[in-house]
């Protein structure tokens, strides 16, 4: 690989909306940076804040949690719980020294392949500018 910094971004995507948008981006052959690694859960509400912290602790330069738009949740309102939790989490991440922009929460519906591509592209650009995440006690090589 070239010398340029290529961030690794962990994505936690809900099965019904964002994961389907990722599929749609695939079937529509829409290009986006290959820096994301996706973990599929049934609902973004399954996202334990611990998952995000584990990702950062183990080497992620960015984490994206994505689910259905408010009011569109397959499980009535699981995404609203994601929203509440991640607002608190964001504050905590900031205190841990993780810059704003490394963690994002997005609502991407099954039809919004374009939004998925835009969000990922934007996030990769932004994190490239921030550089690799330096986190105390992360145990990087």
């Amino acid at each position: 690989m070239s010398g340029e910094f290529e961030p690794k971004i962990v994505v936690i995507a809900c099965h019904w909306c964002t994961y389907q948008a990722i599929n749609l981006a695939g079937t529509s052959r829409m290009k986006y940076p290959p820096n994301v690694r996706t973990i599929r859960v049934m609902c973004s509400g399954r996202t334990d804040p611990q998952f995000v912290i584990e990702a950062f602790r183990n080497g992620a330069d960015g984490v994206l949690v994505a689910g259905c738009h408010p009011g569109d949740c397959h499980y009535v309102n699981g995404n609203m719980k994601t929203m509440r939790r991640t607002v608190l989490l964001e504050k905590m991440l900031e205190q841990m020294g993780i810059e704003k922009g490394r963690f994002r929460r997005e609502w991407i519906s099954a039809a919004e392949a374009k939004k998925w591509v835009d969000v990922v592209t934007e996030m990769v650009d932004q994190i490239k500018k921030l550089g690799p995440l330096k986190l105390a006690g992360r145990g990087d090589e």
Binding site: V10, R37, I39, M42, R46, D48, Y75, V76, G78, T82
Partner: protein, 656 residues
């Protein structure tokens, strides 16, 4: 369900990389992937094949399961949507539990989107395989959950959709409980006047009477009017329902003599006539209403007892109390109906002049069984200039209007204009409209209206209605002529749309069904699963899911009945086991999960020592997993999405 995974030395993984023709192999270096997969922990065998989903591809996996004693399978191909069932069936045939496989989409997730960078596409695919291997190492064998099915149905709502659903279910052989909150069956259709029914002038009440007669004659249908569902427990196949029956104060001895009505001192607007007439506190909703008895409206009744004194058959009991009924049903059809958009006071002059009425009120005036016996008499005179205003409460015309189009109002309005024109040929009728949306067979209404010289006036900015004593004017900027027009109106008819019922939020949380941004109940999938709610075993019909015509509501009622009978005809059901379960020994009994569950699936239980713990009903749980993230004791886990199955995937991204 299974215990902890056995020692990891027992895990034997097979990794299969699909070429998908050139879809994957044209970009990704498949050979490199296979060699890489072989280096991963517990991977016993890794192979590639041109089409894994083909019979030879499936056979390859089946043979390897036997030969290499594989107990976990990773298939790097397309996502789980299309072929998870294919591969689940294939591994089952080879004797492997179908929940021990993982499909990863290296096609949609890599080769199709990173085709310009094969090297990095291959790297990404390697990471995806590594993550999947980390996941399957911790997967456990699962069994589908079985539940019994009660062969009875609950239908909520006695309008045309509910009546149709009840009839279809009963004729299919199931016992049906029909619960209606109003004192009579028939819903909105019973309040409509003449409908444009395929050109035949049939009234809403005639349709309702026909349906009610069939319901009445069907021994399999039990009707509970003046009743509401107050509690819903249980789940798909086995719901436990509590119905509250409000007192009617008039029993079946009532012979409809009407003496009670004569002496009743209370007079209130009659909701069955949209307020254009008054009724008493004891009243018969309309002639031919079912049940065929009077009813007392407890909100307006003063309980003076005059009606009791005059009743010749002793049918009135002012001390009647409400009662509870328990039902046990396998499926629920919800036909909540809608509310009519109620214009604000002053919106287009509504409420400020008797010359401004709604389309529903006009329909009552023009009904043979209406308060004026079909004559349009407003303030005692016949109006000559009649102006209809479209989209009242719809298409965002006013600040508090809904954004959506109510679909049916244009047809209803045009149909009523033609009705007026046939009755009063010298009437001048204007349709001041934002847009005209007539569709299908009803398109002819528009052309008939033009032939009948109804004047169409289009607006972009909502017209202004000014009231000057007895005179009313509609001031509109005609957007095609680009000219301001002032129409003197003897009568202004507001064509109002439909809104979700006021109680929709309460009903929604009672039944745990979702709704869309417009407030109407939401179907699981508009095209693939219409009339199914987000909750298993609950079906939706009629205007509960959005504006519909009478005909469309009836069709939806039948559709919901069919879907419900597919479920009701079974002796037991099987549901996916990817649900959450509480480890009682870890549960501190805080109850956070109970409040967070969107499906009311969690309840608090008591241990022998009096301490509390939570328990999840496996048939109610839909498997979202939000309770797990909320549990402070890490006492809840979701099968297929346990922490030990997700966290290793996160670590595997970084090769840890």
């Amino acid at each position: 369900m299974s215990e902890e995974v056995r020692g990891s030395e027992d895990i034997r993984i097979g990794v299969y990389v699909c070429h998908c023709g050139l879809n994957i192999a044209g970009v990704i270096n498949v050979k490199e992937l296979v060699e890489y997969a072989k280096t991963l922990p517990n991977v016993v065998v890794a192979k590639e094949y041109i089409f894994m989903c083909s019979s030879p591809g499936q056979n390859l996996i089946k043979e390897d399961i036997e030969q290499y004693k594989l107990n976990r399978i990773v298939i790097a191909a397309c996502g789980p949507e299309m072929h998870e069932p294919t591969f689940r069936a294939a591994v089952s045939e080879a004797g492997l539990n179908p929940f021990l496989i993982d499909l990863i989409a290296i096609r949609e997730g890599s080769s199709w989107v990173h085709y310009d960078d094969p090297k990095r596409a291959t790297e990404k695919a390697k990471d995806m395989i590594r993550m999947s291997v980390a996941r399957v190492r911790n997967l456990e064998p699962l069994e589908k959950i079985k539940g019994e099915v009660k062969h009875e149905a609950l239908v909520v709502g006695g309008g045309v959709a509910g009546l149709t659903a009840a009839l279809d279910l009963a004729n299919r052989g199931f016992d049906v409980h029909l619960v209606e909150k109003r004192p009579t069956l028939g819903g909105h259709t019973a309040m409509m006047g003449v409908l444009n029914w395929e050109g035949r002038r049939l009234s809403g009440r005639e349709i309702v009477r026909t349906l009610i007669k069939m319901v009445k004659d069907n021994p399999k249908i039990k009707v509970y009017t003046n009743s509401e569902v107050v509690k819903v427990d249980g789940s798909i196949g086995n719901f436990k329902i509590t119905v509250m029956r409000k007192p009617r104060y008039v029993n079946e001895r009532c012979n409809l003599c009407g003496k009670c009505e004569e002496v009743c001192p209370v007079s209130v607007p009659d909701e069955y006539e949209y307020g254009i007439k008054k009724r008493k506190a004891i009243y018969l909703p309309y002639s031919g209403a079912y049940p065929e008895r009077y009813v007392i409206d407890p909100n307006s009744c003063t309980f003076c007892g005059k009606c009791v004194e005059v009743c010749p058959v002793n049918a009135i009991d002012l001390n009647e109390k409400e009662g509870e009924i328990s039902l046990n049903v396998g499926a629920i059809v919800m036909t909540l109906g809608h509310d009519e958009y109620e214009p604000a006071i002053g919106e287009y002059g509504y409420g400020l002049s008797k010359n401004v009425i709604t389309l529903s009120q006009l329909k009552r005036y023009l009904s043979d069984d209406g308060p004026t016996k079909g004559e349009l008499l407003v303030n005692g005179t016949k109006p000559k200039n009649i102006v209809f205003i479209s989209c009242v409460g719809s298409l965002g015309t006013t600040p508090h209007a809904n954004q959506y189009c109510s679909r049916t109002c244009c047809m209803a309005a045009l149909s009523e204009m033609l009705h007026l024109k046939s009755k009063y040929p010298d009437a001048n009728i204007f349709y001041v409209h934002k847009d005209i949306r007539v569709y299908g067979k009803d398109e002819k209404l528009y052309w008939e209206a033009i032939d009948n010289l109804i004047k169409f006036v289009r607006f972009d900015e909502p017209p202004k209605v000014s009231i000057d004593g007895n005179k009313t004017f509609v001031d509109v900027y005609e957007s095609t002529l680009q000219e301001r027009i002032l129409i003197p109106a003897d009568l202004v008819v507001l064509v109002t749309g439909m809104t979700p019922i006021k109680e929709v939020d309460a009903v929604r949380s009672l039944f745990k069904v979702g709704c869309g941004g417009d407030g109407f109940l939401k179907e699981l999938h508009l095209k693939l699963n219409p009339v199914e709610s987000l909750t298993g075993g609950i079906f939706l019909a009629g205007t509960a899911t959005g504006p519909k015509s009478v005909a469309e509501s009836i069709i939806a009622g039948s559709a919901a009945a069919v879907k419900a009978s597919i479920l009701l005809a079974k002796d037991h059901i099987e549901v996916e086991p990817l649900i959450a379960e509480v480890d009682e020994s870890k549960c501190s009994g805080c109850g956070i999960c109970v409040s967070i569950c969107p499906f009311n699936a969690i309840s608090m239980q008591k241990r022998e020592d009096g301490t509390r713990y939570s328990k999840i009903d496996p048939l109610l749980c839909e498997g979202c997993g939000t309770c797990i993230a909320a549990c402070p004791s890490a006492a809840i886990q979701q099968y297929g999405y346990k922490d030990k199955q997700i966290i290793p995937q996160i670590l595997a991204v970084f090769g840890r």
